[in-house]
Symmetry: C2
Subunit: 407 residues, 2 copies
Amino acid sequence: MEIKESKFDWVPGGVTAASGFSAGTAFAAIKQVDKRDVAVVHSVVPAAAAGVFTLNKVKAAPVLVTMRNLSTGTAQAVVVNSGNANACNGEQGLRDAQAMAAVTAEVLGIPAEAVLVASTGVIGRKMPMGKILPGIRAAAGQVAPENGPLAAQAIMTTDTFPKEAAVRLELGGKQVTIGAMAKGSGMIHPNMATMLCFITTDAAVAPACLKQALKYAADRSFNLVTVDGDTSTNDMAVILANGRAGNGVIREEDSDYVNFREALTEVCASLARDIARDGEGATKLIIVEVLGAATEKDARQAAKAVAGSSLVKAAVFGRDANWGRIICAAGYSGADFDPEKVDIFLGDEQVARDGGSIDFSEERALEILKKDTVKITLNLNSGDCRATAWGCDLSYDYIKINADYRT
Amino acid sequence: MEIKESKFDWVPGGVTAASGFSAGTAFAAIKQVDKRDVAVVHSVVPAAAAGVFTLNKVKAAPVLVTMRNLSTGTAQAVVVNSGNANACNGEQGLRDAQAMAAVTAEVLGIPAEAVLVASTGVIGRKMPMGKILPGIRAAAGQVAPENGPLAAQAIMTTDTFPKEAAVRLELGGKQVTIGAMAKGSGMIHPNMATMLCFITTDAAVAPACLKQALKYAADRSFNLVTVDGDTSTNDMAVILANGRAGNGVIREEDSDYVNFREALTEVCASLARDIARDGEGATKLIIVEVLGAATEKDARQAAKAVAGSSLVKAAVFGRDANWGRIICAAGYSGADFDPEKVDIFLGDEQVARDGGSIDFSEERALEILKKDTVKITLNLNSGDCRATAWGCDLSYDYIKINADYRT
């Protein structure tokens, strides 16, 4: 979590920062023996719940089970495993995902339909249920409010650091907390959904408003992250709102709703940024800001295309101020703009004006490109809409991680 | 050029294989002193002409000039330079592209509007016209029928081998030749257009039919090649048909048209395959064949997504029989299919059935993945449409070539 300017108070605690949420984890040895790989998150009372999911035609079994269990608009727990995606496992996969929910429910004393299920890991391998179910029993049996950070570790795959965020704000005179954890790393190019992200809040929000706020936030955070252009079979972001803060239930688009949505969007954006920074093999976070777009959609398309371009990513890795690749990517993004009006900046150094070259300091550009975070700004000068997308550079290590070289 | 089963006779000569075409080249030292970098192709008589172009919003100046000069449906020459894309150069870029046409026309004694212009190389650098115009004079001054292969060298950038193809067929009792040259390598993900490709034929074909045939062929060849997902600002495929073969002019969709279109498609597909094999950093050609699709569009979408997936490309580089990444890419391609019906093959080894895992020989799969060419077949079992896409693996050398590392 990197905290930037914000009107909200950022607090520790991650997915259990909000009142009434606890978590438990276990070492189930699904893929590695020395890594936590099962997490359970529990709310003391049933919570309003909503989710957004991968648009991939190939949806993993846990995605299908969670979509169905969310149809009531409520949930009380989440169970997650890393090390196996439970995707492309047919009927057996569905049965296994349901069994994960059933065992979690049994230990926590809640209905199986109140449990959301998520998995991440390799596709097309049968789930080692003989390891997973005991792991779930252990994790669900020791849920506690201080275990949010351990849960964030348990859902990691090739992530190099856990991803958490939480903010505190006031709604209707009550202090409300929104906390979350996420995992990212590879196969990251969510489409109207996300990698895995679990958000909890003690705010009281009606399910329909909760879903709307989550969709809004995801479109401005997870859906603007790209690591490698591959949309996973397992993407999911879910939110549980248990109402323990005691604010009046948010049921319409009033000022409390807007405030809540804004805080939720900041939490999601913070995690999105962490996911990009921790992309497989990444040496740098790339922040692409598009200004002056005619519509927000144009801004988002252009920003995501630049952040996702293999050539831009390779140029940033190589510290090459190659603005031609940047404008080229915006050009094929589908965004509508006049190429001859585009200004491009690396950090605060302008490198192109009116869609063409200008003299700029190569040394200044190199200094900017040497930093851990590289900000690319495109002003389309065609309106007043804007968007930010997050990506990472393309390094030798991306190949190393993903080319499981065999001889 | 790799020749596979074909009903046509494959012949040498490339872009000057057809009767009445000649070419000239020059060393203009645009980027390197020791490389041919200007080519001129000339038809002894005005030819019917058509083109397909990049859909990138950012179109290079030569693309705009060629689009305009093709509005008459005729042309008589093509001038091409490598080493500078003449993209993002504003009004000056347009004037430079026009000057290239004017000088070519002057030397060849034809109108400037009869000259098509193409450029490839770095974006956003002013054209060194003091080197280019003398180069064009030299190239246009020595055009000869035997120079097709030299022209194919002159248009190369990071290509490691020249790309040419030519076939001979009979139309209306006359022998007709279709020849072509292309360049590819990086920034290759054409959208309804192509990288640079120049096709000549002595067939007599009316401009409207020629355009229709070219669009058909490009959709089944260049538009199914991907190297890195980046659609260039300079993509263009143009065809000149000078009628010197003496066949009756093809004016409608008769059997001669279909025969011509089929031969043209084979020529384009042969070049598309060469472009994929020679993708930047590629160690392997990946051929993705999708069978059993409900529509040809579904087949093309799925095939191109698999060929373009960074994770599939990295897996092939690493010789990893990771079919999960293959079905995942088909799943986000936009193609409509039932994931539980999909069969996947590496070469002739089946690695997944009904969208799920099966036992297969890891040793056989490894042998297949060690070859220069890796064929991936997906049978969607949902219809009888099919498509083939071409890509390449993602290796350390792609990063090396595109990360111009600065310290």
